[in-house]
Subunit: 411 residues, 2 copies
């Protein structure tokens, strides 16, 4: 008798976005005219087109696929050399970080990599997550049986939660019990906050002392504007012994629909084998990827490589600046209404405190009904997100300005 993975039954449905869709639908049915004015600042998806340099490179690659002499079949499982080397040179070499060729793995998305990476670890590893958090870290560990059970407060009883809120300046404290795997995402989704070099070093030192591994999600690194904020965890000394870094072209270059990302797994990181021997995580990830993955589309890898040309750099920086101007507009608009706002300086996410002790969902309803704006309730990202709310800078300037004008209705 074929039996299901029992851990899947422990998962909740995708409550957050399903509930948002339900409330928006209800609003639309009750207010068909008002619904036409709805502005969505909820989902973290981009709106600006691919950079011309990327488009040109993709066309050229499609043409190569059209001729026998230049056609490409299976590519390397871990990515083409031209893209791997561009990443090594421009994302790391320029920051004094020297990565070996086989420490960089190209994939079709950070969600996949960050979701699959936990497979490399033993089921009894103790996992720590910041709270609020990107749900993929939680759900993929729950599917593997590492999260235990979901209790009535919406917390998994075997995960270690590291609360991030106003009171601690959104800087997680070290865990009270030893943990083996730590998920960190900076610039943070959903709070839009960052860690300084010194704050990040606390975690690298902890991981080294406790033989733990940091899974560092740097998907939003392109949005950092302030000095003193590391763009890679490898800027912190010793991080190459304990940290895996997940990067993506989704937000950097508008690749959410084009699909390309990469993961850095330094050779120096080792974990304990069953006989106490030390095993390279790099070798384990190679085995995982060569067995369950077949590389990224050739035209997509050519497109991603074009991001690193001088034109590609300039064009993608312009788009990032466009979104960051949106973030400033939203932040200023909310502050003008007396609201408390975090993030939006080094990240495309604005994390606001719901006014007058309102809970996340009450504020969602207020924003929807009064301002016709759809955002994301902070409670959807974990218990410590309650009372907060996420808005994104990814809409058009026009819609962002329009949304901002409506903030007066909720001030």
């Amino acid at each position: 008798m074929a039996k299901a993975n029992p851990n899947y039954s422990l998962l909740q449905g995708s409550y957050l976005f399903a509930e948002i869709a339900r409330r928006v639908k209800e609003f639309t049915e009750a207010n068909p005219d008002a619904a036409k004015e709805l502005i969505r600042l909820g989902i973290g998806d981009v709106t600006q087109p691919l950079a011309p340099a990327v488009v040109e490179a993709m066309h050229a690659a499609v043409d190569e696929m059209a001729r026998a002499a230049t056609f490409r079949g299976y590519g390397p499982d871990y990515g083409y050399d031209f893209l791997v080397n561009a990443i090594r040179e421009f994302d790391y070499g320029t920051r004094g970080i020297d990565l070996a060729y086989d420490e960089v793995f190209i994939s079709d998305g950070s969600k996949c990599d960050v979701g699959n990476f936990q497979e490399l670890f033993s089921d009894d590893c103790v996992v720590a997550i910041t709270d609020p958090v990107y749900p993929v870290y939680v759900d993929t560990n729950a599917m593997a049986g590492r999260a235990g059970r979901l209790n009535d407060s919406g917390m998994w009883d075997q995960l270690i939660y590291l609360p991030c809120h106003e009171e601690n300046g959104f800087v997680p404290s070290l865990p009270a019990v030893p943990v083996d795997i730590i998920y960190l995402c900076y610039p943070n989704n959903p709070t839009g906050t960052t860690l300084t070099y010194e704050q990040l070093k606390v975690w690298v030192d902890y991981a080294k002392e406790n033989d733990a591994v940091i899974l560092y999600d740097a998907a939003y690194r392109a949005y950092i504007t302030q000095p003193g904020i590391p763009r890679s965890i490898y800027e912190v000394e010793g991080a190459d012994e304990v940290a895996v870094e997940f990067c993506s072209f989704s937000k950097t270059a508008g690749f959410t629909g084009t699909r390309c990302a990469y993961t850095v797994v330094p050779h120096k990181i080792t974990v304990a084998g069953a006989q106490g021997e030390r095993l390279e995580l790099n070798a384990l990830w190679k085995r995982r990827q060569s067995t369950k993955f077949n590389g990224v589309s050739y035209p997509v890898q050519r497109g991603a490589t074009a991001i690193y040309t001088p034109e590609g750099q300039k064009q993608t920086e312009t788009t990032v600046a466009y979104y960051m101007q949106n973030a400033r507009v939203i932040g200023e608009g909310l502050r003008a209404q007396g609201l408390t706002v975090y993030g939006g300086v080094d990240a495309p996410y604005i994390w606001l405190k719901a006014p007058q002790g309102m809970d996340s969902w009450a504020f969602f309803d207020l924003l929807l009904n009064e301002a016709r704006i759809v955002g994301t309730p902070g409670a959807g990202f974990g218990p410590s997100g309650e009372g907060y709310f996420r808005l994104t800078a990814f809409n058009t300037r026009e819609n962002t300005l329009k949304a901002t004008e409506r903030f007066a209705r909720i001030g």
Copy 2:
């Protein structure tokens, strides 16, 4: 202390292709001039360019990504409606198979899907594989702890092997002990053989009687030329209650480097939950994909959809016919030398018996040294592959003909 998944240590390295590479390298170093003439009929990768209809559709989609008004961000996790509906209509509707919209899941490759699908099952499910077999079925179950340990005969002690060889006409017998998950691949990789409707029905009936699930890999279905051979397992009555079907554009339309595939998971298939309740595999796969996958590149999905246009159909059929002519050439060439040959009629793989009781690797060396041809030793696909050898029809006509002329050297 972070600990590794202990199952990874049970895996062998990628012995097969590493050993092939080692022997080819040794030959090249010893015979630099002869090495220039090497013809590779080993790996199952295509050589012919993408169909013009596909190329045109991809260019148009890249142009859409270049303009804000037509730009696409995140696509649906399970694929765009235009591709899902083309598959439903042309791959199934035309054969009288009615699939619901949400029974088709688009992905970036069958290797990924077939590798990831086992996650949905409990770790204690008993897995059966045909032998010889595509190594991904074995390795992904070994990584999940379902395969047990590899013994001295190269067999995993918890897998059920279903030998396929000359004596049984490459038709696997039903297992002697009850099994829960059965991997079948037809047309078969590596043997190039097929099952008739009646032979496949035996397995569907077995699965229904034993509450088992068939994971049916149909990656080579486009190569079927003879009537009476099912192109989809759903042509067999009742299969939609027990079988998941994995299909790919890799071999159908030369997408090995472009990356697109799909998996069919009918709602009717249920497996036992922890409390004995019945759970839809469809719902479990949806949860898996929405949590760990983010959809396929938009231009790639547009390219795949163009395969279903009249021009696309004609163009891809021409390419398949080209490869199948290669298969005939190879088969005839080998038979002319008195060799026993299987496959190559409904599949791009030729499975030959090494002459005079020679083992797979001895024949590999003979072919390399005498004919300067690189193929794949059957023993690399499992114990029942010993004494056999795989050649592929995917090289150019010119190289295929040249290779065939050299068969005289080994006759």
